[in-house]
């Protein structure tokens, strides 16, 4: 099968100006992926499906990744020449910047007809709070429907053009997106026979808040 770079070049030859980039995987798997811009993601996806030498007719998996805001510290060396003619003085300057986070959706594509794959596509939202819209690829691959609903449910990515975008695992009216990194789970009492640390603190708090009821005196066997 073609490498991601070759696929990217053919996509650009067919759709000039499309935002397609190769994201390299430096690990031993070396499974490089294609990062698509949201504007022409659906056109690129349709090309990948219909191209006679690719024929990626099967989307096996859609998943999400949450990239929170990340503080990056960059160290640069600044050399200032010594006016007395000695060796230049080297100082390190540290700059901190916040790398803005995003939500990412990953698609794994295979070809049932030509028996090859996977080709990995990535789509990224602009941020994690208010610009979380991405084009749905369900019109291209029907198997994305439930999995995009799952990504919507657990990560909060809004897929425009999805035929039936509702929560699928949690109930309607649930407010949170549990797979996000900053999700705070409900304060559920969790029973441990010999708790310690946070679990012990939680158990003590729950016991103190509970009124003396019929179950309070009975220790569970």
């Amino acid at each position: 099968m073609e490498t991601p770079e070759e696929i990217r070049d053919r996509v650009l030859a067919r759709l000039p100006g499309a935002a397609v980039a190769v994201v390299a995987n430096p690990g031993p798997a070396a499974q490089h992926s294609l990062l698509l811009g949201p504007a022409d993601a659906r056109a690129v996806a349709a090309f990948l499906r219909d191209d006679p030498s690719l024929r990626l007719d099967y989307c096996s998996n859609v998943t999400g990744v949450d990239w929170p805001d990340k503080e990056v510290v960059e160290t640069t060396k600044v050399s200032t020449p010594d006016p007395a003619g000695g060796p230049p003085r080297v100082t390190e300057a540290k700059t901190r910047r916040i790398q803005p986070g995003c939500l990412e959706v990953v698609y794994h594509l295979y070809s049932m007809a030509l028996k090859h794959g996977p080709v990995v596509l990535r789509l990224r939202t602009a941020n994690r709070s208010d610009q979380v819209e991405l084009p749905s690829l369900t019109p291209v691959w029907r198997s994305c429907e439930f999995q995009e609903r799952e990504v919507f449910d657990l990560f909060g990515v809004v897929f425009s053009g999805h035929p039936d975008l509702r929560r699928i695992l949690m109930w309607d009216g649930f407010a949170d997106h549990p797979m996000r990194r900053d999700y705070v789970e409900p304060d559920d009492y969790e029973w441990e026979p010999t708790p310690h640390g946070d679990v012990l603190a939680k158990a003590t708090r729950h016991r103190a808040a509970a009124p003396a009821g019929p179950g309070a005196t009975e220790a569970r066997p």
């Binding site: 695992l169 949690m170 109930w171 309607d172 009216g173 649930f174 407010a175 949170d176 549990p178 999700y183 789970e185 409900p186 559920d188 009492y189 969790e190 029973w191 441990e192 026979p193 010999t194 708790p195 310690h196 012990l200 158990a203 003590t204 729950h206 016991r207 509970a210 009124p211 009821g213 019929p214 179950g215 309070a216 009975e218 220790a219 569970r220 066997p221």
Partner: protein
């Protein structure tokens, strides 16, 4: 004034066995009634996860739950006596389980089968699994295991039969369905924005004491 006559001692088991040897069956309504209902405990045909597979295995020929009169799995809660909560209760499923329990007529009994139904099991640190069905409905027998073998379910059934046979039909020790003021409907939790509301039924369940000294 004369002292009231002391109450005559109840018939002992030895005397009853002696009478049976002579062809006389001496029993009480209570005993007969409990014998009858302990041998026809009909479970609700209801499974949630892998524990249900063991429950199904218990009903098949090798383990044969019919030996204990419980082979009639009823597909309607209106006809069932026993709710076997067999498997993981997700928070999305919990209101339906409580509603099924409310729809069952008294006398009714409940098994928490497996680690998940007892405490959430391997999923208890998750956000989406109820940490024990006993937070909403009263559980008669806990069956530990992941999943419990069919023999464990049969043992729970035998234990339940012993419990039913030991119940008296009057007085304070009478079962729930013979007490006029006891509740047989339990509040069904609602889906909230972050969790089930309420997260537990305080009438049924309170956080239990832990083995470790608290506040230390």
């Amino acid at each position: 004034m004369t002292e009231p006559a002391p109450p005559s001692p109840p018939v002992t088991d030895d005397e009853r066995a002696e009478l049976r040897r002579h062809g006389i069956l001496l029993t009480s309504i209570e005993e007969l009634y409990n014998w009858g209902r302990s041998n026809s405990v009909w479970p609700l045909q209801f499974g949630l996860a892998c524990c249900a597979i063991e429950m199904i295995a218990a009903s098949m020929a090798r383990f044969d739950i019919a030996r204990f009169g419980s082979e009639v799995f009823r597909p309607s809660p209106r006809q069932a006596d026993l709710l076997i909560v067999s498997g993981t209760v997700t928070k999305k499923m919990a209101p339906q389980v409580v509603r099924l329990w409310n729809q069952m007529p008294e006398p009714k009994y409940c098994f928490a089968m497996g680690a998940c139904a007892i405490s959430g099991g391997p999923f208890k640190q998750g956000y989406n699994v109820l940490k024990g069905i006993d937070r909403y409905i009263p559980v008669d027998i806990y069956i530990p295991g992941c999943p419990p073998r069919p023999e464990a379910l049969l043992h729970a059934l035998i234990t339940l039969q012993e419990k039913i046979r030991g119940q008296s039909l009057s007085g304070r020790a009478a079962p729930r369905f013979l007490q006029p003021d006891a509740a047989c409907a339990y509040p069904v939790p609602e889906f909230g924005a972050h969790d089930l509301e309420p997260p537990r039924n305080p009438e049924v369940w309170q956080p239990p004491a832990t083995a470790r000294k608290e506040g230390a």
